[in-house]
Symmetry: C2
Subunit: 237 residues, 2 copies
């Protein structure tokens, strides 16, 4: 199998590392398009979301499939092409220089015909044990869900760290508790694993916490918003 | 060292497991007080927060220290006692039947004199490598911080799971991303590790997400509240 990977960012770099030795790879500069193999079976456009269309328009004709790697971009962004098109989306956050176990990374595949779908599924299966088909609508839902689970959770950790630092404590002190909170959800759904003053409707503790936050309207607002949401999802059925 | 542990809940059970073979333990029924050793060096009251005072009042006189294990209860709840008092707080969520690596659990110790403090520090050090002193104010801040980092984060995972299930996907698909998000914060502060549409001020993606949530006012409100908080903490300095 011959693959063009267009891009020089984190996703492109990690895809190349993951596919090294398994397929014939050409890494292609998205500006010069130098090195582009017109006979590649798959050309993967792995550039920032808003550059995908421009790169797709600039590519020479190829006998293979053209796919992008963006979770939040519809397959239609490649409609300017005459080739078969697809999406080859690894659901992971890549950091330069950090090695990952690629076999665990979920790959989400979309294509408009089953042959293209099969080629992209096969390519993903060379990297990961966790490959599935998901259309643009499903990917969109997955993206929102990952914003809640990861981006927003990370922001709560940043808030937690600031509260700790303001009181002479380090975020590290909370790590074992956080790890155990996450581990619990492997056996119990996060809904059933919920603990804390909100799910207990422990208004005395909630009031103590709000009075501790009273100098920061934004934190009070976040505390109240999430507390009401926990109460309403657990008790107003 | 001789220890009374008053209580039959998760914390009491895990403390007994962690101290087994290291000290002489009496597990005491909080109602009958049967088995109470009046010569114990430390009596640990490990019952629900609002039962601590009542149990403390009912205990026979002892020659040792009396301590409770609650993170959110001040040391003063034990002021009814003539003995030396303290707090012996393990910062962890305990589940019945789940074994933990006790050596990693942070123990927070409070006492009113250095002798009592030393005894409680020594006892905690028999369990954990992560023992420190924290007064009631510090513990209160820690408790709020753990609500943000753990309870609220867990609720976001529950929301994420619901969004995924509604679209025919499982929470498992997001786990590798979530694990990597948490792992990143071991090398980078959560603030510096922030990713996602909000920190990029990617209003196009934010609008797409909000329109996807438009049938659920509560989720829209959470999305907007956390998004503005990320933007203001990263860009309105």
């Amino acid at each position: 199998m011959k693959i063009n990977i267009i891009g020089r960012g984190n996703v492109a770099t990690h895809l190349i590392a993951a596919l090294e030795g398994k397929v014939e790879i050409r890494q292609v500069n998205p500006h010069s398009l130098e090195g582009f193999d017109e006979k590649a079976d798959v050309t993967i456009i792995s550039v920032s979301d808003n550059a995908i269309r421009k790169v797709a328009e600039a590519l020479p004709a190829t006998s293979g499939i053209i796919a992008h790697t963006s979770g939040s971009t519809p397959i239609d962004v490649l409609d300017c092409r005459k080739e078969k098109t697809g999406v080859f989306y690894p659901l992971q956050t890549f950091t330069k220089g950090v090695e990952l176990d690629y076999s665990e990374i979920p790959f989400l595949i979309e294509a408009k015909d089953t042959d293209t779908e099969k080629t992209l599924l096969d390519l993903a299966a060379k990297i990961s044990n966790n490959v599935r088909i998901a259309d643009s609508e499903k990917r969109k839902a997955l993206h929102v869900a990952s914003v809640f689970a990861c981006n927003f959770a990370n922001h709560l950790w940043a808030i937690s760290e600031k509260l700790l630092n303001d009181n002479g404590l380090e975020f590290d002190i909370i790590r074992p508790l956080l790890k155990e909170t996450l581990r619990k959800t492997e056996h119990l759904s996060p809904f059933d694993a919920q603990t804390g003053p909100a799910v207990r409707r422990d208004s005395k503790t909630i009031d103590t916490h709000l009075s501790l936050l009273e100098n920061d309207r934004e934190l009070m607002n976040i505390y109240q918003t999430l507390t009401s949401s926990i109460i309403s999802s657990h008790h107003n059925k």
